[in-house]
């Protein structure tokens, strides 16, 4: 009977991981700059973007961020159990849903890592044999959290520097509207390349879904072939998420970006993609939305445009709160499972 429950749990976990992959695609707004610039047809853009995210997610599912989320965050003393992973998923999804209903922009990465933290702490408290000091790979966890603070900052700096550079060597030399329009036509094709590049790294750094699967692989629940298959399915579903569900967000954002210059979008996309790439190679799961928001701020600062510091402060509070709230939520859920003797 116990085996049956575990099997059901594994199926539930895989389904939730795939659903999470779908939601990663569904919430991805990277393509809006491309659609807003009218570079290619809407459906073609969705297809290209979807494939790029899917390819990124699948190609990097064997190491890097997926490994960090699925194994490396934990200390040598423990590995994930199915209930731990289920709690992590329930908690992070619940917190994201609460955030959505409250209209608060939250990071799924922060939420997931926070949930892992909460679950593992409660696990170490409830299991006397486990030493709380060794349940985490503290160095890795510190690096991940440091990455959350540094990645937006570097995004801002990189956007600022790249834009200033481009403005100095090229953009400031354009005189009339015709010349500007003509040069932006070339930028929009570069933007297409940059967005594909960015989408690959968005997929590669979105370790939430494949990270859960990696946890199952690391715990021995899934074998390598099964892991590859489900990681591929996650890639496909992230692609479907963009194609089926993200279109509304993208179309909406794109209509607000009709006036934006492809050269500016190019810089923000390149900066955020580079940050995501570096973070991926450092195996650090970071928030794409946080990075892109700071890249946009970097662009505004470079252009001496007004920055909504009040709104930014409000957003920062939610960003900081996500980790502890998700940790408490996950801890409580896991403690509940423990009380009912399910764990």
């Amino acid at each position: 009977m116990a085996v049956d429950i575990i099997s059901i749990l594994v199926v539930v976990l895989i389904v939730l991981a795939i659903a999470l992959a779908f939601s990663i695609g569904a919430n991805d707004e990277t393509l809006s700059t491309l659609v807003g610039a009218g570079v290619i047809k809407f459906k073609v853009a969705l297809l290209i973007g979807g494939i790029a995210v899917g390819v990124g997610m699948f190609s990097f599912s064997f190491a890097f961020v997926a490994k960090t989320v699925g194994a490396d965050l934990l200390g040598e003393a423990i590995t994930y159990t199915e209930f731990m992973l289920l709690t992590v998923l329930i908690s992070s999804i619940l917190w994201l849903v609460i955030g959505s209903f409250a209209g608060i922009p939250l990071s799924s990465t922060h939420s997931l890592v926070g949930s892992i933290f909460g679950v593992v702490i409660v696990y170490s408290i409830t299991h006397e044999a486990v030493n709380p000091e060794t349940v985490f790979n503290w160095a890795k966890l510190n690096n991940v959290i440091l990455g959350w603070f540094l990645s937006p900052l570097f995004g801002l700096i990189m956007t600022y520097v790249l834009f200033k550079l481009l403005a100095k060597v090229y953009l400031s030399r354009l005189k009339g509207l015709n010349q500007i329009e003509k040069s932006e036509k070339y930028f929009k094709w570069l933007l297409l390349i940059a967005v594909i590049f960015a989408e690959i790294w968005v997929g590669a750094n979105s370790g939430e879904a494949v990270g859960i699967l990696y946890g199952l692989l690391d715990g021995g629940t899934l074998n390598l072939e099964q892991y590859i298959f489900f990681a591929f399915i996650c890639g496909v579903f992230s692609c479907l998420g963009i194609f089926i569900a993200a279109r509304y967000v993208i179309r909406n954002l794109a209509s607000q970006m009709m006036d934006s210059r492809p050269s500016e979008s190019l810089i923000t996309q390149i900066s955020s993609a580079l940050i995501l790439m570096i973070a991926t190679f450092l195996s650090l799961p970071i928030s794409h939305s946080h990075v892109i928001v700071f890249c946009i701020i970097g662009m505004s600062v470079a252009q001496r445009k007004e920055v909504d510091y009040k709104g930014l402060g409000k957003m920062a509070i939610y960003w900081i709160l996500t980790f502890p709230v998700a940790a408490i939520l996950a801890g409580l859920i896991y403690f509940g499972f423990n009380l009912f003797g399910l764990v």
Binding site: G38, S172, G176, L177, M258
Partner: protein, 220 residues
């Protein structure tokens, strides 16, 4: 202005159509101003002829039609909405000019004295200058936004000077010993106010061009 066929219009690009349109409207403005100068000189026949030209000319309607058809299909990206707005702002000058001309044709006034006439001519000279300046600025948008910005600054400066003359003129009018419900008084009051309205539109248009320059130009 030389008549232009629809076929010829269709060959022009968005920029050329805008230039043609602004030239056309400026020409009508100059005709309107010249018409009022004829009124000052009491050449009523020429005055009527000029103002009727402003009302009856419809070349700009053709240009507008071709422009609108082109802009909606055009592959211009971020400047499309601004170019459309620019065009509609030029068209507003035409509407104000037509309204002005229709009103002026309601009556043929004889001016109270030579001082009033010479003050009005000075105002008209400024109006002519800002209308020409605006035309140059519109034409420079495509090739040199910085130059367009500078021309607009000159237009605004001229408008500032012009305003002083307009108030002097109104002040003079209100101090004449005449019946304030007479057609002459009302007509001259409307004449000055309509010149103000046209000049204010040109000034606000200049500010819009300066906004475009600020929006599109990137400084180091």
């Amino acid at each position: 202005m030389k008549e232009i066929t629809e076929k010829e219009l269709k060959k022009l690009n968005i920029d050329e159509l805008t230039h043609l349109f602004v030239d056309n409207i400026n020409e009508q403005n100059l005709k309107l101003i010249e018409g009022i100068e004829f009124l000052v000189e009491e050449k009523f026949e020429d005055f009527t002829k000029n103002l009727n030209y402003v009302i009856e000319t419809n070349t700009e309607v053709q240009i507008k039609k071709v422009f609108e058809a082109k802009i909606f299909k055009s592959k211009l990206m971020f400047s499309k909405a601004d170019r459309l707005k620019l065009f509609s702002k030029i068209n507003d000058i035409k509407n104000i000019g037509e309204f002005f001309a229709n009103k002026m044709l309601l009556y043929k006034v004889v001016f109270p004295d030579n001082e009033f006439k010479s003050q009005l001519v000075r105002v008209l000279k400024s109006l002519k200058s800002i209308s020409n300046g605006l035309t140059d600025a519109v034409k420079a948008i495509g090739s040199n936004l910085s130059n367009a910005h500078n021309i607009c600054e000159e237009v605004k400066e001229e408008r500032r000077k012009m305003r002083k003359n307009e108030w002097d003129l109104l002040n003079r009018l209100y101090n004449y010993d005449m019946d304030y419900l007479s057609r002459t008084f009302l007509y001259l009051k409307e004449l000055i106010e309509d010149i103000m309205m046209l000049a204010d539109h040109i000034k606000s248009f200049s500010e819009y061009i300066q906004f475009l320059a600020t929006k599109y130009l990137i400084f180091e």
